[in-house]
Protein backbone atom coordinates (compact mmCIF):
# COMPACT_ATOMS: atom_id res chain seq x y z
CA UNK A 1 0.00 0.00 0.00
CA UNK A 2 2.86 2.29 0.90
CA UNK A 3 4.41 1.34 -2.40
CA UNK A 4 1.27 2.49 -4.18
CA UNK A 5 1.26 5.83 -2.43
CA UNK A 6 4.94 6.39 -3.07
CA UNK A 7 4.29 5.82 -6.75
CA UNK A 8 1.29 8.10 -6.49
CA UNK A 9 3.52 10.85 -5.13
CA UNK A 10 5.94 10.25 -8.01
CA UNK A 11 3.05 10.68 -10.39
CA UNK A 12 1.97 13.89 -8.70
CA UNK A 13 5.41 15.40 -9.12
CA UNK A 14 5.60 14.45 -12.77
CA UNK A 15 2.01 15.50 -13.40
CA UNK A 16 2.44 18.96 -11.95
CA UNK A 17 5.53 19.64 -14.00
CA UNK A 18 3.72 18.54 -17.14
CA UNK A 19 0.82 20.76 -16.07
CA UNK A 20 2.94 23.88 -16.18
CA UNK A 21 4.05 23.11 -19.72
CA UNK A 22 0.59 21.98 -20.79
CA UNK A 23 -0.87 25.30 -19.69
CA UNK A 24 1.26 27.13 -22.20
CA UNK A 25 0.15 24.80 -25.01
CA UNK A 26 -3.49 25.13 -24.12
CA UNK A 27 -3.45 28.92 -23.78
CA UNK A 28 -1.83 29.42 -27.16
CA UNK A 29 -4.17 26.94 -28.80
CA UNK A 30 -7.13 28.60 -27.20
CA UNK A 31 -6.25 31.94 -28.61
CA UNK A 32 -4.93 31.22 -32.09
CA UNK A 33 -5.72 27.53 -32.65
CA UNK A 34 -2.05 26.76 -33.06
CA UNK A 35 -0.29 23.68 -31.70
CA UNK A 36 2.91 25.43 -30.74
CA UNK A 37 5.47 22.68 -31.20
CA UNK A 38 8.20 25.10 -30.24
CA UNK A 39 6.82 25.28 -26.71
CA UNK A 40 8.89 22.33 -25.51
CA UNK A 41 11.98 24.14 -26.69
CA UNK A 42 11.06 27.36 -24.90
CA UNK A 43 10.84 25.09 -21.85
CA UNK A 44 14.39 23.97 -22.64
CA UNK A 45 15.69 27.52 -22.90
CA UNK A 46 13.97 28.33 -19.62
CA UNK A 47 15.66 25.38 -17.97
CA UNK A 48 19.07 26.48 -19.23
CA UNK A 49 18.54 30.05 -18.06
CA UNK A 50 17.50 28.83 -14.64
CA UNK A 51 20.55 26.56 -14.55
CA UNK A 52 22.84 29.45 -15.42
CA UNK A 53 20.98 31.56 -12.88
CA UNK A 54 21.45 29.51 -9.78
CA UNK A 55 24.53 27.54 -10.79
CA UNK A 56 26.70 30.00 -12.68
CA UNK A 57 25.59 33.46 -11.73
CA UNK A 58 24.77 32.44 -8.17
CA UNK A 59 21.40 34.07 -8.04
CA UNK A 60 19.04 32.98 -5.30
CA UNK A 61 16.71 30.27 -6.50
CA UNK A 62 13.47 32.31 -6.75
CA UNK A 63 15.32 35.09 -8.56
CA UNK A 64 16.69 32.59 -11.03
CA UNK A 65 13.18 31.40 -11.78
CA UNK A 66 11.97 34.96 -12.28
CA UNK A 67 14.85 35.87 -14.57
CA UNK A 68 14.18 32.77 -16.63
CA UNK A 69 10.47 33.52 -16.83
CA UNK A 70 11.01 37.09 -17.98
CA UNK A 71 13.58 36.11 -20.57
CA UNK A 72 11.41 33.35 -21.97
CA UNK A 73 8.39 35.60 -22.06
CA UNK A 74 10.44 37.83 -24.32
CA UNK A 75 11.51 34.83 -26.36
CA UNK A 76 7.94 33.69 -26.75
CA UNK A 77 6.78 37.09 -27.88
CA UNK A 78 9.62 37.29 -30.39
CA UNK A 79 8.82 33.88 -31.81
CA UNK A 80 5.19 34.87 -32.20
CA UNK A 81 6.10 38.08 -33.98
CA UNK A 82 8.61 36.55 -36.33
CA UNK A 83 7.25 33.11 -37.10
CA UNK A 84 3.52 33.07 -36.40
CA UNK A 85 2.07 36.52 -36.91
CA UNK A 86 2.86 36.65 -40.66
CA UNK A 87 0.82 33.48 -40.95
CA UNK A 88 -2.12 34.51 -38.84
CA UNK A 89 -4.50 34.67 -41.77
CA UNK A 90 -2.93 31.90 -43.77
CA UNK A 91 -4.12 28.30 -43.58
CA UNK A 92 -3.61 26.99 -40.04
CA UNK A 93 -1.31 24.24 -41.14
CA UNK A 94 1.26 26.78 -42.32
CA UNK A 95 1.67 28.12 -38.79
CA UNK A 96 2.06 24.55 -37.57
CA UNK A 97 4.88 23.96 -40.01
CA UNK A 98 6.44 27.20 -38.91
CA UNK A 99 6.20 26.02 -35.31
CA UNK A 100 7.98 22.80 -36.24
CA UNK A 101 10.65 24.90 -37.92
CA UNK A 102 11.09 27.06 -34.83
CA UNK A 103 11.35 23.95 -32.70
CA UNK A 104 14.13 22.50 -34.86
CA UNK A 105 15.83 25.86 -34.96
CA UNK A 106 15.92 26.25 -31.19
CA UNK A 107 17.20 22.71 -30.72
CA UNK A 108 19.94 22.83 -33.32
CA UNK A 109 20.95 26.39 -32.56
CA UNK A 110 21.27 25.76 -28.86
CA UNK A 111 23.40 22.69 -29.51
CA UNK A 112 26.01 24.74 -31.32
CA UNK A 113 29.31 25.02 -29.51
CA UNK A 114 29.14 28.74 -28.97
CA UNK A 115 25.61 28.68 -27.60
CA UNK A 116 24.67 26.09 -25.00
CA UNK A 117 26.94 23.33 -26.41
CA UNK A 118 25.56 19.87 -27.12
CA UNK A 119 26.75 18.44 -23.82
CA UNK A 120 24.63 16.92 -21.13
CA UNK A 121 25.39 19.13 -18.16
CA UNK A 122 24.86 18.15 -14.59
CA UNK A 123 22.81 20.66 -12.66
CA UNK A 124 24.04 21.12 -9.12
CA UNK A 125 21.49 20.76 -6.39
CA UNK A 126 19.44 23.94 -6.24
CA UNK A 127 17.86 23.19 -2.93
CA UNK A 128 19.12 20.96 -0.14
CA UNK A 129 17.29 17.66 -0.07
CA UNK A 130 14.87 16.94 2.71
CA UNK A 131 12.53 13.99 2.88
CA UNK A 132 9.28 14.16 4.71
CA UNK A 133 7.30 11.18 5.80
CA UNK A 134 3.52 11.08 5.79
CA UNK A 135 2.16 7.89 7.20
CA UNK A 136 5.24 5.98 6.17
CA UNK A 137 5.21 7.37 2.65
CA UNK A 138 8.38 9.18 1.67
CA UNK A 139 7.78 12.64 0.17
CA UNK A 140 10.82 14.65 -0.97
CA UNK A 141 10.75 18.41 -0.51
CA UNK A 142 11.18 18.90 -4.22
CA UNK A 143 7.77 17.40 -4.82
CA UNK A 144 6.16 19.69 -2.30
CA UNK A 145 7.85 22.75 -3.77
CA UNK A 146 6.72 21.81 -7.25
CA UNK A 147 3.14 21.31 -6.14
CA UNK A 148 3.10 24.58 -4.23
CA UNK A 149 4.67 26.62 -7.01
CA UNK A 150 2.39 25.15 -9.68
CA UNK A 151 -0.72 25.72 -7.60
CA UNK A 152 0.37 29.28 -6.97
CA UNK A 153 0.89 29.87 -10.66
CA UNK A 154 -2.46 28.34 -11.42
CA UNK A 155 -4.16 30.61 -8.93
CA UNK A 156 -2.40 33.58 -10.45
CA UNK A 157 -3.45 32.48 -13.91
CA UNK A 158 -7.07 32.06 -12.86
CA UNK A 159 -6.98 35.52 -11.38
CA UNK A 160 -5.50 37.01 -14.53
CA UNK A 161 -7.92 35.28 -16.86
CA UNK A 162 -11.10 35.90 -14.91
CA UNK A 163 -10.49 39.05 -12.92
CA UNK A 164 -8.47 41.39 -15.06
CA UNK A 165 -9.16 43.29 -18.22
CA UNK A 166 -6.35 41.65 -20.06
CA UNK A 167 -7.80 38.31 -19.11
CA UNK A 168 -11.14 39.36 -20.45
CA UNK A 169 -9.43 40.44 -23.64
CA UNK A 170 -7.76 37.03 -23.89
CA UNK A 171 -11.07 35.27 -23.47
CA UNK A 172 -12.70 37.51 -26.03
CA UNK A 173 -9.96 37.02 -28.59
CA UNK A 174 -10.03 33.26 -28.13
CA UNK A 175 -13.73 33.34 -28.82
CA UNK A 176 -13.64 35.45 -31.96
CA UNK A 177 -10.84 37.66 -33.26
CA UNK A 178 -12.92 39.94 -35.40
CA UNK A 179 -15.62 40.56 -32.85
CA UNK A 180 -12.96 41.34 -30.26
CA UNK A 181 -11.36 43.78 -32.61
CA UNK A 182 -14.69 45.42 -33.21
CA UNK A 183 -15.01 45.83 -29.46
CA UNK A 184 -11.79 47.81 -29.41
CA UNK A 185 -9.47 45.10 -28.18
CA UNK A 186 -5.94 45.20 -29.57
CA UNK A 187 -5.82 41.63 -30.82
CA UNK A 188 -2.12 41.62 -31.65
CA UNK A 189 -1.14 42.83 -28.21
CA UNK A 190 -3.45 40.36 -26.53
CA UNK A 191 -1.94 37.49 -28.45
CA UNK A 192 1.56 38.64 -27.60
CA UNK A 193 0.65 38.78 -23.93
CA UNK A 194 -0.78 35.28 -24.12
CA UNK A 195 2.44 34.01 -25.60
CA UNK A 196 4.42 35.86 -22.94
CA UNK A 197 2.44 34.26 -20.14
CA UNK A 198 2.54 30.81 -21.72
CA UNK A 199 6.27 31.00 -22.29
CA UNK A 200 6.90 32.28 -18.79
CA UNK A 201 4.99 29.29 -17.44
CA UNK A 202 7.06 26.97 -19.61
CA UNK A 203 10.23 28.57 -18.28
CA UNK A 204 9.07 28.08 -14.71
CA UNK A 205 8.28 24.51 -15.64
CA UNK A 206 11.79 24.17 -16.99
CA UNK A 207 13.47 25.38 -13.84
CA UNK A 208 11.29 23.18 -11.64
CA UNK A 209 12.00 20.28 -13.96
CA UNK A 210 15.74 20.56 -13.59
CA UNK A 211 15.39 20.93 -9.87
CA UNK A 212 13.80 17.49 -9.83
CA UNK A 213 15.73 15.94 -12.74
CA UNK A 214 19.09 17.70 -12.62
CA UNK A 215 20.37 17.67 -16.17
CA UNK A 216 20.20 20.05 -19.09
CA UNK A 217 20.78 19.38 -22.74
CA UNK A 218 19.48 21.02 -25.91
CA UNK A 219 17.04 18.28 -26.86
CA UNK A 220 15.58 17.91 -23.39
CA UNK A 221 12.34 19.61 -24.37
CA UNK A 222 11.15 17.12 -26.96
CA UNK A 223 9.69 14.48 -24.69
CA UNK A 224 8.23 16.72 -21.97
CA UNK A 225 6.77 18.87 -24.73
CA UNK A 226 5.16 15.86 -26.36
CA UNK A 227 3.77 14.55 -23.08
CA UNK A 228 2.48 17.95 -22.01
CA UNK A 229 0.86 18.44 -25.38
CA UNK A 230 -0.81 15.06 -25.09
CA UNK A 231 -1.97 16.03 -21.62
CA UNK A 232 -3.46 19.25 -22.92
CA UNK A 233 -5.39 17.37 -25.59
CA UNK A 234 -6.46 14.71 -23.15
CA UNK A 235 -8.04 17.33 -20.94
CA UNK A 236 -9.53 19.24 -23.79
CA UNK A 237 -7.23 21.55 -25.65
CA UNK A 238 -7.93 25.23 -25.17
CA UNK A 239 -9.35 24.67 -21.71
CA UNK A 240 -7.12 25.70 -18.83
CA UNK A 241 -8.42 23.33 -16.13
CA UNK A 242 -8.38 20.60 -18.76
CA UNK A 243 -4.65 21.00 -19.23
CA UNK A 244 -4.05 20.50 -15.52
CA UNK A 245 -6.38 17.54 -15.31
CA UNK A 246 -4.86 15.95 -18.36
CA UNK A 247 -1.37 16.48 -17.02
CA UNK A 248 -2.15 14.94 -13.66
CA UNK A 249 -3.65 11.93 -15.38
CA UNK A 250 -0.69 11.58 -17.73
CA UNK A 251 1.69 11.75 -14.78
CA UNK A 252 -0.15 8.97 -12.98
CA UNK A 253 -0.48 6.81 -16.09
CA UNK A 254 3.21 7.20 -16.81
CA UNK A 255 4.23 6.20 -13.34
CA UNK A 256 1.64 3.51 -12.65
CA UNK A 257 2.17 1.67 -15.91
CA UNK A 258 5.89 1.55 -15.17
CA UNK A 259 5.23 0.47 -11.62
CA UNK A 260 2.63 -2.21 -12.21
CA UNK A 261 2.58 -3.23 -15.84
CA UNK A 262 5.76 -2.79 -17.77
CA UNK A 263 8.35 -0.09 -17.90
CA UNK A 264 9.11 -0.91 -21.53
CA UNK A 265 5.58 -0.40 -22.75
CA UNK A 266 4.95 2.74 -20.77
CA UNK A 267 4.56 5.11 -23.71
CA UNK A 268 2.41 2.67 -25.64
CA UNK A 269 0.05 2.35 -22.68
CA UNK A 270 -0.13 6.10 -22.20
CA UNK A 271 -1.05 6.72 -25.80
CA UNK A 272 -3.48 3.84 -25.96
CA UNK A 273 -5.32 5.36 -23.05
CA UNK A 274 -5.28 8.68 -24.85
CA UNK A 275 -6.79 7.18 -27.96
CA UNK A 276 -9.46 5.35 -25.96
CA UNK A 277 -10.40 8.52 -24.12
CA UNK A 278 -10.65 10.42 -27.38
CA UNK A 279 -12.89 7.78 -28.86
CA UNK A 280 -15.28 8.12 -25.96
CA UNK A 281 -14.93 11.85 -25.48
CA UNK A 282 -13.75 13.18 -28.85
CA UNK A 283 -12.94 16.66 -27.64
CA UNK A 284 -11.08 15.60 -24.54
CA UNK A 285 -12.24 15.08 -20.99
CA UNK A 286 -13.39 18.61 -20.32
CA UNK A 287 -13.84 19.60 -23.92
CA UNK A 288 -17.04 21.14 -25.05
CA UNK A 289 -18.89 19.39 -27.79
CA UNK A 290 -20.38 22.52 -29.23
CA UNK A 291 -22.73 22.45 -32.17
CA UNK A 292 -20.95 23.08 -35.42
CA UNK A 293 -22.52 25.69 -37.60
CA UNK A 294 -22.31 25.11 -41.29
Amino acid sequence: MIYFFEQFVNGIQLGFVYALIALGYTMVYGIIRLINFAHGDVFMVGAYLGFFGFARWHLPYPVAILVSMVACAALGVTIERVAYRPLRYAPRIAALISAIGVSFFLEYFCSLKFVFTPNYQVVPRALPLKNYSLGGVNIPNVTIIIVVVVLAMLALLQYIIYHTRIGKAMRAVSFDHDAARLMGINVDRTISITFAIGSALAAAGGVLYITAYPQVFPFMGILPGLKAFTAAVLGGIGIVPGAVLGALIMGQVDVMSAAYISSQLRDAIAFSILILVLLVRPTGLLGKRGPEKV
Binding site: P86, I97, S98, F105, D176, L226, A268, F271, L279
Partner: protein, 352 residues
Protein backbone atom coordinates in the same frame (compact mmCIF):
# COMPACT_ATOMS: atom_id res chain seq x y z
CA UNK B 1 -11.31 33.48 -65.53
CA UNK B 2 -9.88 30.13 -66.35
CA UNK B 3 -6.24 29.16 -65.89
CA UNK B 4 -4.60 29.29 -69.29
CA UNK B 5 -5.14 26.04 -71.12
CA UNK B 6 -2.14 24.25 -72.62
CA UNK B 7 -1.54 25.39 -76.14
CA UNK B 8 -1.03 22.08 -77.78
CA UNK B 9 -4.11 20.29 -78.79
CA UNK B 10 -3.41 16.70 -77.99
CA UNK B 11 -6.28 14.31 -78.28
CA UNK B 12 -7.74 13.65 -74.80
CA UNK B 13 -6.87 9.97 -74.74
CA UNK B 14 -3.19 10.79 -75.30
CA UNK B 15 -3.28 13.53 -72.71
CA UNK B 16 -4.30 11.06 -70.05
CA UNK B 17 -1.31 8.84 -70.67
CA UNK B 18 1.12 11.65 -71.31
CA UNK B 19 2.45 11.37 -67.78
CA UNK B 20 3.44 7.77 -68.40
CA UNK B 21 5.29 8.68 -71.57
CA UNK B 22 7.08 11.53 -69.87
CA UNK B 23 7.98 9.20 -67.04
CA UNK B 24 9.37 6.69 -69.48
CA UNK B 25 11.44 9.38 -71.11
CA UNK B 26 12.78 10.53 -67.76
CA UNK B 27 13.55 6.97 -66.78
CA UNK B 28 15.49 6.33 -69.97
CA UNK B 29 17.47 9.53 -69.50
CA UNK B 30 18.35 8.51 -65.95
CA UNK B 31 19.38 5.02 -67.00
CA UNK B 32 21.59 6.45 -69.70
CA UNK B 33 23.19 8.85 -67.22
CA UNK B 34 23.84 5.99 -64.85
CA UNK B 35 25.30 3.89 -67.63
CA UNK B 36 27.82 6.52 -68.70
CA UNK B 37 28.83 7.03 -65.09
CA UNK B 38 27.62 10.57 -64.71
CA UNK B 39 25.84 9.84 -61.45
CA UNK B 40 27.83 8.51 -58.51
CA UNK B 41 26.53 5.77 -56.27
CA UNK B 42 25.86 8.39 -53.62
CA UNK B 43 23.60 10.54 -55.77
CA UNK B 44 21.84 7.44 -57.06
CA UNK B 45 21.05 6.59 -53.46
CA UNK B 46 19.88 10.11 -52.74
CA UNK B 47 17.57 9.99 -55.74
CA UNK B 48 16.21 6.62 -54.62
CA UNK B 49 15.56 8.02 -51.17
CA UNK B 50 13.82 11.01 -52.73
CA UNK B 51 11.57 8.79 -54.81
CA UNK B 52 10.73 6.60 -51.81
CA UNK B 53 9.85 9.69 -49.76
CA UNK B 54 7.79 10.93 -52.69
CA UNK B 55 5.80 7.71 -52.75
CA UNK B 56 5.18 7.89 -49.02
CA UNK B 57 4.24 11.53 -49.20
CA UNK B 58 1.76 10.89 -52.01
CA UNK B 59 -0.07 8.72 -49.54
CA UNK B 60 -0.27 11.49 -46.99
CA UNK B 61 -1.20 13.88 -49.75
CA UNK B 62 -4.26 11.80 -50.53
CA UNK B 63 -5.19 11.54 -46.86
CA UNK B 64 -4.52 15.12 -45.84
CA UNK B 65 -3.94 17.20 -48.93
CA UNK B 66 -7.05 16.01 -50.71
CA UNK B 67 -9.33 14.64 -48.01
CA UNK B 68 -8.33 16.94 -45.19
CA UNK B 69 -7.72 14.20 -42.61
CA UNK B 70 -4.94 15.49 -40.37
CA UNK B 71 -2.86 12.37 -39.87
CA UNK B 72 0.54 12.73 -38.21
CA UNK B 73 1.21 9.08 -37.56
CA UNK B 74 2.27 8.32 -41.11
CA UNK B 75 5.66 7.00 -40.04
CA UNK B 76 3.93 4.22 -38.13
CA UNK B 77 2.47 2.88 -41.37
CA UNK B 78 5.79 3.39 -43.11
CA UNK B 79 7.28 1.17 -40.42
CA UNK B 80 4.67 -1.55 -40.81
CA UNK B 81 5.27 -1.77 -44.54
CA UNK B 82 9.02 -1.77 -44.07
CA UNK B 83 9.11 -4.46 -41.41
CA UNK B 84 6.58 -6.78 -43.05
CA UNK B 85 8.20 -6.58 -46.47
CA UNK B 86 11.66 -6.67 -44.95
CA UNK B 87 10.89 -9.69 -42.82
CA UNK B 88 9.42 -11.63 -45.74
CA UNK B 89 12.25 -10.66 -48.04
CA UNK B 90 14.77 -11.66 -45.45
CA UNK B 91 13.26 -14.93 -44.38
CA UNK B 92 11.88 -16.26 -47.65
CA UNK B 93 12.94 -13.93 -50.39
CA UNK B 94 16.70 -14.30 -50.61
CA UNK B 95 16.89 -11.82 -53.40
CA UNK B 96 14.42 -13.43 -55.75
CA UNK B 97 12.61 -10.69 -57.71
CA UNK B 98 9.32 -12.54 -57.66
CA UNK B 99 9.45 -12.82 -53.90
CA UNK B 100 10.48 -9.20 -53.74
CA UNK B 101 7.30 -8.16 -55.51
CA UNK B 102 5.27 -10.40 -53.23
CA UNK B 103 6.93 -8.93 -50.13
CA UNK B 104 6.21 -5.42 -51.31
CA UNK B 105 2.59 -6.23 -51.94
CA UNK B 106 2.32 -8.04 -48.62
CA UNK B 107 3.79 -5.02 -46.86
CA UNK B 108 1.35 -2.68 -48.55
CA UNK B 109 -1.54 -5.01 -47.81
CA UNK B 110 -0.61 -5.40 -44.14
CA UNK B 111 -0.41 -1.65 -43.83
CA UNK B 112 -3.78 -1.27 -45.52
CA UNK B 113 -5.38 -3.74 -43.14
CA UNK B 114 -3.99 -1.99 -40.07
CA UNK B 115 -5.02 1.36 -41.51
CA UNK B 116 -8.52 0.07 -41.97
CA UNK B 117 -8.75 -1.27 -38.42
CA UNK B 118 -7.35 1.92 -36.92
CA UNK B 119 -9.15 4.23 -39.28
CA UNK B 120 -12.65 3.01 -38.60
CA UNK B 121 -12.77 4.21 -35.01
CA UNK B 122 -10.35 7.12 -35.32
CA UNK B 123 -11.53 8.91 -38.43
CA UNK B 124 -14.59 10.06 -36.56
CA UNK B 125 -12.42 12.53 -34.68
CA UNK B 126 -12.13 16.13 -35.66
CA UNK B 127 -9.02 17.63 -37.15
CA UNK B 128 -6.60 18.32 -34.28
CA UNK B 129 -7.82 15.38 -32.24
CA UNK B 130 -7.40 13.08 -35.20
CA UNK B 131 -3.85 14.39 -35.41
CA UNK B 132 -3.18 13.49 -31.80
CA UNK B 133 -4.74 10.08 -32.15
CA UNK B 134 -2.71 9.27 -35.25
CA UNK B 135 0.42 10.60 -33.61
CA UNK B 136 -0.32 8.38 -30.64
CA UNK B 137 -0.71 5.43 -32.97
CA UNK B 138 2.64 6.20 -34.56
CA UNK B 139 4.30 6.24 -31.16
CA UNK B 140 2.61 3.00 -30.17
CA UNK B 141 3.96 1.35 -33.32
CA UNK B 142 7.46 2.53 -32.52
CA UNK B 143 7.31 1.29 -28.93
CA UNK B 144 5.99 -2.07 -30.10
CA UNK B 145 8.79 -2.31 -32.65
CA UNK B 146 11.35 -1.49 -29.98
CA UNK B 147 10.08 -4.47 -28.03
CA UNK B 148 9.25 -6.69 -30.99
CA UNK B 149 12.22 -8.96 -30.45
CA UNK B 150 10.57 -10.39 -27.38
CA UNK B 151 7.93 -11.92 -29.62
CA UNK B 152 9.77 -12.46 -32.89
CA UNK B 153 13.53 -12.36 -32.27
CA UNK B 154 14.40 -11.79 -35.92
CA UNK B 155 12.68 -8.42 -35.93
CA UNK B 156 15.49 -7.26 -33.73
CA UNK B 157 13.66 -4.80 -31.53
CA UNK B 158 15.91 -1.95 -30.59
CA UNK B 159 18.87 -3.71 -32.14
CA UNK B 160 17.33 -3.33 -35.54
CA UNK B 161 16.63 -5.89 -38.23
CA UNK B 162 19.45 -6.78 -40.56
CA UNK B 163 19.44 -8.99 -43.58
CA UNK B 164 16.79 -7.84 -46.00
CA UNK B 165 18.19 -8.42 -49.47
CA UNK B 166 19.12 -5.05 -50.93
CA UNK B 167 17.56 -5.52 -54.33
CA UNK B 168 15.49 -2.39 -54.73
CA UNK B 169 16.97 -0.22 -57.42
CA UNK B 170 15.95 2.73 -59.54
CA UNK B 171 13.76 0.59 -61.77
CA UNK B 172 11.65 -0.84 -58.96
CA UNK B 173 11.40 2.41 -57.03
CA UNK B 174 10.77 4.67 -59.98
CA UNK B 175 8.06 2.53 -61.50
CA UNK B 176 6.36 1.86 -58.16
CA UNK B 177 6.15 5.59 -57.74
CA UNK B 178 4.87 6.21 -61.25
CA UNK B 179 2.25 3.49 -61.04
CA UNK B 180 0.92 4.80 -57.72
CA UNK B 181 1.08 8.35 -59.03
CA UNK B 182 -0.93 7.34 -62.07
CA UNK B 183 -3.50 5.53 -59.95
CA UNK B 184 -3.81 8.43 -57.56
CA UNK B 185 -4.06 10.92 -60.37
CA UNK B 186 -6.94 9.01 -61.87
CA UNK B 187 -8.57 8.66 -58.48
CA UNK B 188 -8.24 12.30 -57.66
CA UNK B 189 -9.57 13.46 -61.04
CA UNK B 190 -12.72 11.41 -60.74
CA UNK B 191 -15.90 11.60 -58.75
CA UNK B 192 -14.02 9.98 -55.89
CA UNK B 193 -11.60 12.87 -55.83
CA UNK B 194 -14.36 15.41 -55.92
CA UNK B 195 -15.99 13.75 -52.95
CA UNK B 196 -12.70 13.86 -51.05
CA UNK B 197 -12.24 17.53 -51.81
CA UNK B 198 -15.78 18.22 -50.69
CA UNK B 199 -15.03 16.50 -47.41
CA UNK B 200 -11.87 18.52 -47.01
CA UNK B 201 -13.57 21.81 -47.66
CA UNK B 202 -16.55 21.24 -45.41
CA UNK B 203 -17.36 17.82 -44.09
CA UNK B 204 -20.78 18.66 -42.77
CA UNK B 205 -21.87 20.28 -45.98
CA UNK B 206 -20.63 17.29 -47.92
CA UNK B 207 -22.54 15.00 -45.62
CA UNK B 208 -25.63 17.09 -46.11
CA UNK B 209 -25.19 16.77 -49.86
CA UNK B 210 -25.32 13.02 -49.57
CA UNK B 211 -21.60 12.22 -49.77
CA UNK B 212 -20.87 9.11 -47.72
CA UNK B 213 -18.10 10.76 -45.74
CA UNK B 214 -17.19 7.69 -43.74
CA UNK B 215 -16.65 5.65 -46.88
CA UNK B 216 -14.49 8.20 -48.65
CA UNK B 217 -12.46 9.10 -45.60
CA UNK B 218 -11.74 5.47 -44.85
CA UNK B 219 -10.87 4.55 -48.41
CA UNK B 220 -8.59 7.55 -48.79
CA UNK B 221 -6.93 6.71 -45.48
CA UNK B 222 -6.43 3.06 -46.39
CA UNK B 223 -5.07 3.84 -49.85
CA UNK B 224 -2.81 6.55 -48.54
CA UNK B 225 -1.41 4.27 -45.88
CA UNK B 226 -0.98 1.46 -48.38
CA UNK B 227 1.13 3.81 -50.49
CA UNK B 228 3.44 4.60 -47.60
CA UNK B 229 3.52 0.91 -46.71
CA UNK B 230 4.77 0.22 -50.21
CA UNK B 231 7.35 2.96 -49.78
CA UNK B 232 8.42 1.30 -46.55
CA UNK B 233 8.89 -2.02 -48.29
CA UNK B 234 11.10 -0.38 -50.88
CA UNK B 235 13.03 1.36 -48.13
CA UNK B 236 13.67 -1.95 -46.40
CA UNK B 237 15.18 -3.34 -49.58
CA UNK B 238 17.39 -0.35 -50.23
CA UNK B 239 18.78 0.37 -46.75
CA UNK B 240 20.39 -2.56 -44.97
CA UNK B 241 19.26 -1.97 -41.40
CA UNK B 242 15.73 -1.31 -40.21
CA UNK B 243 15.71 0.43 -36.89
CA UNK B 244 12.65 1.67 -34.98
CA UNK B 245 14.24 5.05 -34.41
CA UNK B 246 13.99 5.72 -38.16
CA UNK B 247 10.21 5.60 -37.77
CA UNK B 248 9.55 7.92 -34.86
CA UNK B 249 7.14 10.86 -34.78
CA UNK B 250 9.79 13.18 -36.20
CA UNK B 251 9.65 11.10 -39.37
CA UNK B 252 5.90 11.69 -39.51
CA UNK B 253 6.67 15.40 -39.39
CA UNK B 254 8.91 14.96 -42.42
CA UNK B 255 6.01 13.59 -44.46
CA UNK B 256 3.74 16.34 -43.18
CA UNK B 257 6.26 19.05 -44.05
CA UNK B 258 6.60 17.72 -47.56
CA UNK B 259 2.89 17.62 -48.20
CA UNK B 260 2.27 21.09 -46.79
CA UNK B 261 5.27 22.80 -48.37
CA UNK B 262 4.44 21.18 -51.67
CA UNK B 263 0.93 22.49 -51.49
CA UNK B 264 -2.19 20.80 -50.22
CA UNK B 265 -4.26 19.20 -52.91
CA UNK B 266 -1.44 18.94 -55.41
CA UNK B 267 0.18 15.68 -56.40
CA UNK B 268 2.83 17.50 -58.40
CA UNK B 269 3.57 19.69 -55.42
CA UNK B 270 4.05 16.70 -53.17
CA UNK B 271 6.38 15.06 -55.69
CA UNK B 272 8.46 18.16 -56.17
CA UNK B 273 8.66 18.88 -52.46
CA UNK B 274 9.64 15.30 -51.58
CA UNK B 275 12.47 15.05 -54.05
CA UNK B 276 13.52 18.62 -53.33
CA UNK B 277 13.53 18.02 -49.58
CA UNK B 278 15.85 15.03 -49.80
CA UNK B 279 18.20 16.79 -52.19
CA UNK B 280 18.18 19.88 -50.01
CA UNK B 281 19.19 17.98 -46.89
CA UNK B 282 21.95 16.14 -48.68
CA UNK B 283 22.98 19.15 -50.70
CA UNK B 284 23.45 21.20 -47.54
CA UNK B 285 26.29 18.83 -46.61
CA UNK B 286 28.26 19.82 -49.67
CA UNK B 287 27.32 23.46 -49.50
CA UNK B 288 28.16 23.95 -45.86
CA UNK B 289 31.46 22.15 -46.06
CA UNK B 290 33.43 20.47 -43.31
CA UNK B 291 33.76 23.43 -41.02
CA UNK B 292 30.05 24.09 -40.71
CA UNK B 293 28.67 20.58 -40.68
CA UNK B 294 26.88 21.21 -37.44
CA UNK B 295 25.00 24.16 -38.93
CA UNK B 296 23.03 21.89 -41.21
CA UNK B 297 20.14 21.59 -38.78
CA UNK B 298 20.02 25.32 -38.15
CA UNK B 299 20.02 26.21 -41.84
CA UNK B 300 17.35 23.62 -42.58
CA UNK B 301 15.11 24.98 -39.83
CA UNK B 302 15.52 28.57 -41.00
CA UNK B 303 14.78 27.61 -44.59
CA UNK B 304 11.66 25.81 -43.47
CA UNK B 305 10.36 28.84 -41.58
CA UNK B 306 11.21 31.23 -44.40
CA UNK B 307 9.61 29.06 -47.08
CA UNK B 308 6.41 28.60 -45.17
CA UNK B 309 6.13 32.30 -44.36
CA UNK B 310 6.82 33.37 -47.92
CA UNK B 311 4.50 30.84 -49.42
CA UNK B 312 2.03 29.58 -46.85
CA UNK B 313 -0.20 27.96 -49.39
CA UNK B 314 2.65 25.73 -50.48
CA UNK B 315 4.76 25.71 -53.60
CA UNK B 316 2.05 24.48 -55.92
CA UNK B 317 -0.92 25.55 -53.83
CA UNK B 318 -3.51 23.26 -55.23
CA UNK B 319 -2.45 23.44 -58.83
CA UNK B 320 -0.97 20.65 -60.82
CA UNK B 321 1.50 20.29 -63.62
CA UNK B 322 -0.22 20.21 -66.96
CA UNK B 323 1.51 16.97 -67.83
CA UNK B 324 0.12 15.24 -64.79
CA UNK B 325 -3.38 16.63 -64.83
CA UNK B 326 -4.20 17.66 -68.38
CA UNK B 327 -7.10 19.81 -69.35
CA UNK B 328 -9.34 16.94 -70.22
CA UNK B 329 -9.22 15.69 -66.65
CA UNK B 330 -9.47 19.01 -64.97
CA UNK B 331 -13.19 19.44 -64.62
CA UNK B 332 -14.36 22.37 -62.64
CA UNK B 333 -12.42 22.13 -59.46
CA UNK B 334 -8.89 22.89 -60.59
CA UNK B 335 -9.86 25.87 -62.62
CA UNK B 336 -12.12 27.33 -60.01
CA UNK B 337 -9.29 27.50 -57.52
CA UNK B 338 -10.89 25.28 -54.95
CA UNK B 339 -8.44 24.42 -52.21
CA UNK B 340 -6.18 27.38 -52.62
CA UNK B 341 -5.65 29.81 -49.80
CA UNK B 342 -8.34 32.39 -49.79
CA UNK B 343 -8.48 35.39 -47.48
CA UNK B 344 -10.73 34.65 -44.56
CA UNK B 345 -10.53 30.94 -45.19
CA UNK B 346 -10.05 28.44 -42.42
CA UNK B 347 -8.07 30.49 -39.98
CA UNK B 348 -7.71 31.07 -36.32
CA UNK B 349 -10.00 34.01 -36.07
CA UNK B 350 -13.32 32.33 -36.59
CA UNK B 351 -15.93 34.28 -38.49
CA UNK B 352 -17.47 37.41 -37.13
Amino acid sequence: MNATAPKRGLPPWLERYLILLVALGLYLVLRWLYAVGAVSAYWQRVLDQGLIMALGSLGLSLIYGFTGQFSIGHAGFYAIGAYVAGYLGRTYGHGNPGWFLLSLLAGALATAVVAFLIGLPILRLRSDYLGIATMGFGIIVKVLLDNADRVIPVLGGARGMLGTPQIANLTWIFWSLIIVLFLFRNLVCSAFGRACLAIREDEIAADAMGVNTTFYKTVAFVLGCAAVGLAGGLYAHRYPLLHPSSFDFLKSFDFLLIVVVGGLGSLSGTLAAAVGWVFLLEGLRSILGQAFLDFRGVVYALLLIVVVILRPQGLFSGRELGILVPRSLQSGWLRSGVGQAKPGGERAGGSA
